[in-house]
Amino acid sequence: MVQATAPSEVFHVRDLNFYYGMFRALRGINLAIPRQRIFALIGPSGCGKSTLLRCFNRMNDLIPGARVEGEVLFNGADLYAPEVDPAEIRYRIGMVFQKPNPFPKSIFDNVAFGPRINGYTGDIAEVVERALRRAALWDEVKDRLKQSAYALSGGQQQRLCIARALAVEPEVILMDEPCSALDPAATLAIEDLIRELSKEYAIVLVTHNMQQAARVSDRTAFLMMDESRSGFLVEEGETEEIFANPHDKRTEAYITGRYG
């Protein structure tokens, strides 16, 4: 595979169209996601930001009738090439969901799930501890690793899900509105964690909360939908630039609250 992207980019999206059956959910997306930074996708509900996020780890493959046109390059290689195994892709590209979704298992088993299914043979307790420490949850749960994950609060559950994603040592973490089901205090804790994690990982963050995008991210892309409800990219740039000095009138309208 030719190195078609700059080494500083983890994802490169070229002329991406995405379909759910006959419905085109995304059209003509071109975007580059840099390494070790936080990239926020913002836009009104239904603009396709979650769909775009799910193109990055082929989560959309699970939906019958979903179809991709164009290219999504991961480290320069086509994610949708026929020889690519989606399970392996998802192992290297972690994901955190809107609602905390721990498995009905113990805290330990939740974090150990990824390494176990991927055949990790080393000291699994060490992996679990490291992941929980990185997710800033270790001190709160170290004495009750055998307890059900459901005994944790919502914010703790979400940090557990982040630890679960970190345990397989992915290169990128995709976050789909990770704070939307949390209270303000838990939201701040997760945001601090996201900033901390961005030192080691590329993070793509979907959020409907513009303050969050402004607070947390380095770069921001603004999406909207057209008359046929297809999502498209309006503009993309450094977060400060987008929020202080948007080039497009529609971006300005959205971030100042006059839209959506």
Partner: protein, 302 residues
């Protein structure tokens, strides 16, 4: 005007009371019936246990009520029932679980739409039909290809067909439990690089475990209580054996045999069917309580 309003209110209130009463009585019908059944079983069994000690009944390994000397050790009947039930479990649990996993996780929507109702139709086939299916189709098949000198009435054939009979129940209940596992849990596992089978075996089935185990227990409870199939196909020879090729007699089949025979009312043999019935009732009740307990104790809250 005021009186008209008041009248209307009174009739509504009376209607409400009538509706309440009708609904209350409907609910009471099944409760009262259960109480009545327990009363009959216990009171008629008392007559039996005045002549045969509970110890001899529960621990005796010979059941010869119709010959001299009479023995009333229930173990051969319990053993016969459990042998057939065990065989049915060998068929119904793996196949039922397999069908449930297929329907809930693998089947394309179109296949699911056809198969699920088909499974429910299978559950509606009268058990007498399964009895003749075992006797006139499965037994000759087994005799021809596997056990050439096997007796016509045998536990094996009845057990296998019983297994087929309870597959729909096990499959439908397990499938309900699996479909109830939220999509977000499946996505969480996929996002960690799990393959489809890993998602099913390590997340969906464990998450649905309480429902799956309850389905197993209810299926087996149904097998224990099943009457027609074992009466027709499993024989009428009370025998404590683990060899499924032998002819046995299940508890239910004994009750049928005596009920249809010429046993005079009030005799010891007559009372014995109530003792066996009570034993059966306690067994299935125990299974159902166990099933309920499993569902509540292990239920995942997601």
């Amino acid at each position: 005007m005021a009186t008209v309003w008041a009248l209307k209110r009174r009739t509504t209130r009376r209607n409400e009371q009538i509706i309440f009463l009708v609904l209350f009585l409907s609910a009471m019908v099944s409760i009262l019936t259960t109480v009545g059944i327990i009363y009959v079983l216990v009171s008629e069994s008392l007559g039996f246990f005045q002549q045969v000690s509970l110890w001899d009944f529960l621990m005796g390994s010979q059941w010869t009520p119709l010959f001299q000397p009479q023995h009333f050790g229930v173990l051969p009947l319990v053993g016969g029932t459990l042998l057939v039930t065990g065989l049915s479990a060998l068929v119904a649990l793996p196949v039922g679980l397999g069908s449930a996993v297929y329907l809930s996780e693998y089947a394309p929507e179109r296949a699911r739409r056809v198969l699920k109702p088909l499974l429910e139709v299978l559950a509606g086939v009268p058990t007498v039909v399964y009895g003749y299916f075992a006797l006139t189709f499965v037994t000759p098949l087994l005799q021809r290809y596997l056990f050439h000198d096997m007796i016509v009435f045998n536990a094996l054939s009845a057990g296998l067909v019983m297994g087929i009979m309870i597959i729909p129940l096990v499959a439908a209940l397990s499938e309900d439990a699996m479909v109830a596992v939220p999509r977000s849990l499946r996505e969480g596992a996929y996002a960690l690089g799990a393959t489809k089978f890993e998602v099913v075996s390590k997340v969906v089935v464990p998450s649905a475990l309480s429902g799956v185990v309850a389905a197993f227990i209810l299926g087996l409870s149904r097998a224990i209580g099943e009457t027609m199939l074992v009466t027709i196909a499993a024989g009428a020879t009370p025998r404590l054996t683990l060899d499924p090729r032998e002819s046995i007699q299940a508890m239910t089949a004994y009750i049928v045999q005596v009920s249809l025979g010429e046993t005079p009312h009030g005799t010891l043999v007559y009372h014995s069917i109530f003792a066996v019935g009570l034993t059966l009732f306690v067994m299935t009740l125990g299974m159902n309580i166990l099933g309920q307990w499993v569902v509540h104790r292990w239920r995942a809250r997601y």
